[in-house]
Assembly symmetry: C2
Homo-oligomer: 201 residues x 2
Amino acid sequence: MDIKQPDQSRNTILQAAYCEIHRKGYQAASIADILSDTGLTKGALYHHFPTKHALGLAVIEEIIGDRLGRLLSDPIRESEKPIDALLYLIIHVDQQVPADYMELGCPLNNLMQEMSPLDHEFKSKLNAILRNWQDTIEWALSTGQAQGEIRPDVDPKAAALFIVSAWEGCVGIAKNLQSGEAFRTCMQQLHDYVVSLCAGR
Amino acid sequence: MDIKQPDQSRNTILQAAYCEIHRKGYQAASIADILSDTGLTKGALYHHFPTKHALGLAVIEEIIGDRLGRLLSDPIRESEKPIDALLYLIIHVDQQVPADYMELGCPLNNLMQEMSPLDHEFKSKLNAILRNWQDTIEWALSTGQAQGEIRPDVDPKAAALFIVSAWEGCVGIAKNLQSGEAFRTCMQQLHDYVVSLCAGR
DNA sequence: AGAATAATATACCGACCGGTATGGATGAGT
DNA sequence: ACTCATCCATACCGGTCGGTATATTATTCT
């Protein structure tokens, strides 16, 4: 046995669990398979996490929420022209994401589809992430209205809800069709929708 | 034991499997639970279906495809003004569907999300249903163009792909939020998108 | 240095799963 | 009425799952 590194072990398990869950879903992800990739065993896992359920929640909070925020919210929040940032993201998000995302889909959406009707803790944590994303887009639309870019008759909250819904829908359909081509044409249509919310069109 | 009715038994099992899969997903749906609702046993099931896999495929082909076609394609195909039929469906589909659809989501989308990356037979059969739906909407848009309702610069195939994607996205998000309200506002935005494809806007 | 505690490995358990083997009941054909 | 294929129930199997009990090793504290 090597040196014991609790924090690193915990993180190794979290990452492996994330990958396994992303590939197979939460319920089909087996503890044994998660551990086989790492050099660790059940003793380590059940020392850091009381149950598989807790491990799943930790993956959501500490990995998925974090990554999604960094990828989809931060660029918009940090931009002075959030609508431009949003439009840029819609078109170029497929280039900023690991290659397997196309075939495996969005981890957030996958888990929501699988677990939200089954477990209310999963549901609330996943919905918090979704809400955060939606709020960001709503903020972008409101800011766009203040800047005169977005038409004043647009309802930012409703439009933001639709954008995240359509976005996840595009990812899901592209995953089923196993087609990056389909994803891009689909996101191009979403791009056109957002443009249709802009003033002077 | 009662009188033997092979066709009815097969159909009973198919329906029970459909409900169980709709509630829990394919992998989490257990043979025992499927049968417990019906009065039948494994002997009956494995007489009519060689494996759980074959049962799942039969559910897709004989139930899901059928229902989706009846609900979402036939009204459009049979209408003389398909765009109006499409817009009507987008707004009123939530009233034409069993109550549990809101919390359980679309059976087609659920299965696509779960199984398409895992099994190519599931994927191809599910994609065939999706393709059929998309083709219907593409046909509606093309017909709309011929009737002068839809702008000529609209790409019917791309727009149809986006509509089904966004549609499934709306259902999925509404399922996670457990909110019929969210579903309706979301579909209203999809409605507005389709209207934005119409001429004279 | 010694004691206490944290961290990890190993072996094991009961529950459940999909699937099978077998046999009995039913109905159709002759 | 006898045969035979269809239909279905029951008991059982091997395998996998999440989880536990326990022992051992590493670290930290006194």
